[in-house]
C-alpha cells in the first residue's frame, strides 16, 4: 500500500491518524463519561491501526482494529456494569445558581467529609475549609485547574454521598510524571541518530508472517497460545462464583 502514496498524501494521512490517536487518548483521560472514554479510546486504537497500514503492516493493522473494537466494547460494557455513573451525567449537571462557592465545607484531609456549615472534621479534627466553587459544566479544565480538588469533583454541591470522581488527589503528580516521561522520550528521539528508511521488499506480509510463525518463531506462536489458555483459565477461576 505504501509504495503507491505520494509524499503529501502520506504526510496528510500520518498527521490525521496521529491526531486521532493522540486526541482520542487525551479525550479518554479527560471526559467525565466513562462510556465516552471507551469509545474515544476505540477511535484512538483504530487510528493506530491506520498508522500500521501506513507502515505496511497490513495484517497487524487488521488484527489491531478487530481486537480493539471488540476489546473496547467489552470494556464499555464492564464500565456500565461496575461504575456508579458510567454516563457522567451526574457530574455534568451545573450546580444550582443559589449555591454559592462557600456553601459547603470540606476537610482538607478527608475529601468525603463534607458539611453545610464550618466546623471540625469528625475523623481528624482539622478545620473544614470552603469547598472550591463548581463551574457550570463539570469540565476537564476544572480537574486541571484544581488537581487537588479532583476528588471533590465527583460530589455535587448538593452533598451527594456517592463517590464518583474519576481521578484522585495525585492527579498533578501523575500529570508531571507522564509529561516528564514523554519529554524524556521525545528528547531521546530528537538527539539520537536514526537510519534512513530501508526499501520495503515485495512480500505478502500475511503469508510471510504465517510461514515464520510456523517455522522460525514457533516458540513465540506456541508461547502465545499457552499464554491465552492461561489467561482464559485464570479469568474463569477469578470470576466464578464460589
Amino acid at each position: 500500500m505504501n509504495g503507491t502514496l505520494s509524499p503529501p498524501v502520506e504526510w496528510l494521512l500520518f498527521v490525521v491518524l496521529s491526531t486521532v490517536a493522540i486526541g482520542g487518548t487525551f479525550r479518554m483521560l479527560r471526559t467525565m463519561s466513562m462510556v465516552r472514554s471507551g469509545f474515544s479510546l476505540m477511535a484512538s486504537f483504530c487510528a493506530i491501526g491506520g498508522l500500521f497500514l501506513l507502515l505496511s503492516a497490513d495484517l497487524l493493522a487488521s488484527m489491531q482494529i478487530m481486537m480493539y473494537v471488540a476489546g473496547m466494547l467489552v470494556m464499555v460494557l464492564f464500565m456500565v456494569m461496575v461504575s456508579p455513573d458510567p454516563g457522567g451525567s451526574m457530574m455534568g449537571i451545573a450546580p444550582p445558581e443559589e449555591t454559592g462557592p462557600a456553601d459547603e465545607y470540606v476537610c482538607p484531609m478527608h475529601p468525603d467529609v463534607r458539611s453545610r456549615e464550618p466546623g471540625q472534621c469528625p475523623k481528624c479534627g482539622m478545620a473544614l475549609q470552603p469547598a472550591p466553587e463548581h463551574h457550570a459544566h463539570g469540565s476537564a479544565s476544572h480537574v486541571k485547574d484544581h488537581g487537588q480538588s479532583a476528588v471533590q469533583h465527583g460530589h455535587m454541591s448538593s452533598g451527594m454521598e456517592m463517590d464518583m470522581a474519576m481521578t484522585h488527589e495525585f492527579t498533578r503528580i501523575a500529570a508531571v510524571t507522564g509529561f516528564i516521561v514523554a519529554l524524556g522520550l521525545l528528547g531521546a528521539i530528537a538527539f539520537a541518530p536514526w537510519p534512513a528508511p530501508a526499501p520495503i521488499p515485495a512480500l505478502d506480509s500475511a503469508r510471510t508472517i504465517g510461514t515464520e510463525l510456523l517455522g522460525r518463531y514457533m516458540i513465540a506462536f506456541e508461547g502465545a497460545a499457552v499464554l491465552i489458555l492461561l489467561g482464559m483459565v485464570g479469568a474463569v477461576i477469578f470470576a466464578r462464583r464460589a
Binding site: 461496575v82 519529554l183 526499501p199
Partner: protein, 103 residues
C-alpha cells in the same frame, strides 16, 4: 516513505506519556486497564515503526508486535476478571478503595 521514523516514535512517546498519566491518575479500575492498553499500543507502534525502517525483510518485528497484542488481550481478560471479583466483594471499582487485598 517521506514520513521519517522520528515522527512515528514521537507519536508513540506522547501516547506512552499519556498512558503513564492515565495509570497514575485514574481511579476507576477499568480506566487504569485502558491506560495500560495505551502504553502497550505505544510500545507496539514503536516496534512496528522500527521493523519498517530498520529491517523490513525480517518479520521478527511484526511477530513481536503480535506477541504484544496477545499480551494485551490476556491482560484485558484477567484484569476484567479481577475487577468483577473485586466488585462482587467490595461493591466498588475504585482502586483507592481497594488498598488492602484481604477479602
Amino acid at each position: 516513505m517521506s514520513v521519517p521514523l522520528q515522527a512515528y516514535l514521537a507519536v508513540a512517546a506522547i501516547l506512552f506519556g499519556l498512558g503513564v498519566y492515565g495509570v497514575l491518575s485514574q481511579r476507576g479500575a477499568v480506566m487504569v486497564l485502558m491506560s495500560t492498553e495505551v502504553i502497550l499500543n505505544a510500545a507496539m507502534l514503536n516496534t512496528v515503526a522500527f521493523w519498517r525502517y530498520r529491517n523490513p525483510a525480517d518479520f521478527a518485528g511484526q511477530i513481536f508486535a503480535l506477541v504484544i497484542l496477545t499480551i494485551a488481550a490476556v491482560e484485558m481478560a484477567v484484569g476484567l476478571a479481577v475487577i468483577v471479583l473485586v466488585y462482587r466483594n467490595r461493591s466498588t471499582q475504585m482502586v483507592d478503595r481497594v488498598a488492602s487485598l484481604r477479602g
